[in-house]
């Protein structure tokens, strides 16, 4: 019977175990299952493969993908991934552990989560972070639910349509059924009223423009609501922080903190808030404590907010989150430090502005938002046929000029070299006007 490397049982083992279990054969273990429900047919699966066959199978599938130089962001940023990160996150003690329920043998996980929480607080300027969310868009949706929980008798939220489309879509999905009214608006402040619990705005809009949120917090707070800012945590090294803008809650996706773009996941969402709202933040939180002998240690804390204790009265239903990706970001931020993260922004920003200028010089584009500041991502109006532009870029190995709201968007990270940018611009120059 031993014929599969993940099952250690020999025929003898099975015999011994069946005897102890008091059943005649493996089928006897399912005597409590009505016969109708025992699947008698052959499973419609391929024949079992050897490890080498599996490797070859995926190698072939991988080759059906096209490796492109990525010049698009829109929520997934192709930043450099230092070699140390996958090395550390592949350590089986981290990789193959469950949620740190048994803190005495989970201090590794608990400590890095505590470090992650600390780093998210330092990036955003806020007081409390949780252990991570699924991704940025779902974190935004949870933050809106949290705002409703934090404010009494208010059940309306305002969501800026300047947010990226996938954030809007997820928010809409999450808030469709609970008794929360969602208003989507370009100018959120115009919609404020006495029943508004929270206002969600981006720090950088879907067109790449860095937002000036002067006066937002005052107006939102005056109306008795909470200000929630959706931000790129990498950019927070150089842009005004949620705390500096007066936001109450900050959310976003930690993907730009050294995570591979990986066809959309796994990434990690983050959520941070002011001290006052600590008790309403969703998900797991790690806190510092001491053990019986006075040693510093870390534990899951404030658990009475969570689903396994409060069931339907919990702040959120989130259980497993994206722990290992939080480690990913924590190791990234440790390696980068303040200088490295600033340099990532400096290089991305300079590269993006260089591309912007060079693209305009080709005469194939017009400015979409003249004079508006951007960091690493921007939009232009194309004077050439957009599908043709996209195809020419693809043919040359570039992913760029994604269409959004009739514009084309580009993004440059520190990974893109000047040579690559020049090559892309050359392709554009070759397109007839």
């Amino acid at each position: 019977m031993a014929g599969f490397s993940y099952f250690p049982h020999t025929d003898d083992d099975i015999r011994v175990m069946l005897e102890r279990a008091g059943v005649r054969n493996l089928d006897g273990l399912y005597s409590d299952v009505p016969a109708d429900f025992i699947y008698q047919g052959e499973y419609d699966l391929p024949d079992a493969m050897s490890e080498q066959q599996v490797r070859d199978f995926f190698e072939k599938l991988g080759e059906k993908n096209t490796k492109l130089k990525v010049f698009v962001g829109q929520g997934a940023y192709d930043h450099y991934v230092p070699a140390v990160i996958p090395y550390i996150t592949s350590r089986s003690e981290f990789l193959t552990a469950y949620t740190p329920y048994q803190c005495e043998i989970s201090q590794g996980t608990l400590r890095y989560i505590f470090e992650w929480q600390s780093m998210i607080c330092r990036l955003t300027g806020l007081d409390v972070s949780n252990a991570s969310m699924y991704d940025g868009p779902s974190a935004a949706a949870e933050a809106l639910r949290m705002a409703v929980a934090c404010t009494r008798k208010r059940n309306k939220v305002i969501v800026s349509t300047k947010l990226m489309q996938n954030v809007l879509d997820v928010v809409k999905t999450y808030l469709k059924y609970p008794d929360i009214e969602v208003v989507f608006a370009w100018d959120v402040l115009d919609e404020l009223g006495p029943d508004v619990a929270g206002v969600l705005v981006p720090s950088i809009c879907r067109h790449g423009v860095i937002q000036d949120l002067t006066g937002y917090a005052e107006k939102v707070h005056e109306a008795g609501a909470l200000l929630i800012e959706y931000c790129d945590p990498s950019a927070l090294a150089v842009l005004k922080t949620p705390d500096e803008w007066g936001a109450d809650i900050a959310v976003g996706d930690a993907q730009p903190l050294g995570m591979p773009i990986c066809y959309g996941g796994p990434y990690a969402g983050f959520i941070a808030c002011k001290q006052d709202y600590m008790r309403k933040i969703p998900g797991r939180i790690v806190g510092q404590s001491v053990d019986a002998s006075g040693k510093r240690c870390f534990v899951l804390t404030l658990q009475a907010r969570e689903q396994h204790i409060r069931r339907e009265k919990a702040t959120s239903n989130i259980c497993s989150n994206e722990s290992l990706m939080a480690l990913w970001a924590t190791v990234y931020l440790s390696l980068m430090g303040p200088e490295g993260l600033r340099k990532v922004n400096e290089l991305s920003c300079a590269g993006a502005h260089y591309l912007y200028d060079e693209l305009l010089k080709t005469g194939r584009f017009e400015e979409a938002f003249p004079g508006r500041p951007f960091l690493k991502e921007f939009c232009l109006k194309s004077k050439v046929d957009i599908p043709t532009l996209q195809q020419k870029l693809l043919d040359a190995g570039f992913f760029g000029a994604l269409e959004i709201d009739g514009y084309v968007t580009f993004c440059v990270t520190e990974k893109r070299t000047k040579e690559e940018i020049d090559a892309l611009v050359n392709v554009v120059r070759g397109i007839a006007l």
């Binding site: 658990q303 009475a304 204790i309 409060r310 009265k313």
Partner: protein
């Protein structure tokens, strides 16, 4: 054996009530705090909120549990014991001293449904 204060009225969900004119002072019994263990947080309403008899107005939290607080009377919250915010352990230390909220009752008749100390002693075993 948990202590019972003879001068108070009780609900079956282990809240006690001290009546002071039209005001009901509400806390939880010694039995309730013993069942909960170390209380780590008391979730309370705000002054001005209305509470309804039999409906939850807050919760007690311990490390591994959470227990709803049910209002023994209906009315408006006129005071909240802010000391509990920093010192939830006061409920463990002195359950009959550590009141949680004061409610201006809208219907004093509701008091008649509450248990006397003797009747409550039968439940809190």
């Amino acid at each position: 054996m948990s202590k019972i204060n003879d001068e108070l009225l009780y609900s079956e969900s282990h809240e006690w009530v001290k009546v002071d004119g039209n005001i009901a002072i509400i806390g939880v019994s010694d039995f309730a705090q013993e069942e909960m263990g170390d209380i780590t947080y008391v979730d309370v309403p705000a002054e001005g909120d209305s509470v309804t008899k039999g409906e939850d107005f807050g919760a007690l939290e311990s490390v591994k549990a959470s227990s709803e607080l049910y209002s023994p009377v209906s009315g408006e919250v006129v005071a909240v014991n802010e000391e509990l915010e920093d010192k939830p352990e006061l409920i463990n230390e002195d359950p009959y001293g550590a009141w949680i909220i004061k409610v201006e009752m809208s219907d004093n008749g509701e008091l008649e449904d509450l248990l006397t100390a003797a009747a409550y002693a039968e439940i809190a075993k």
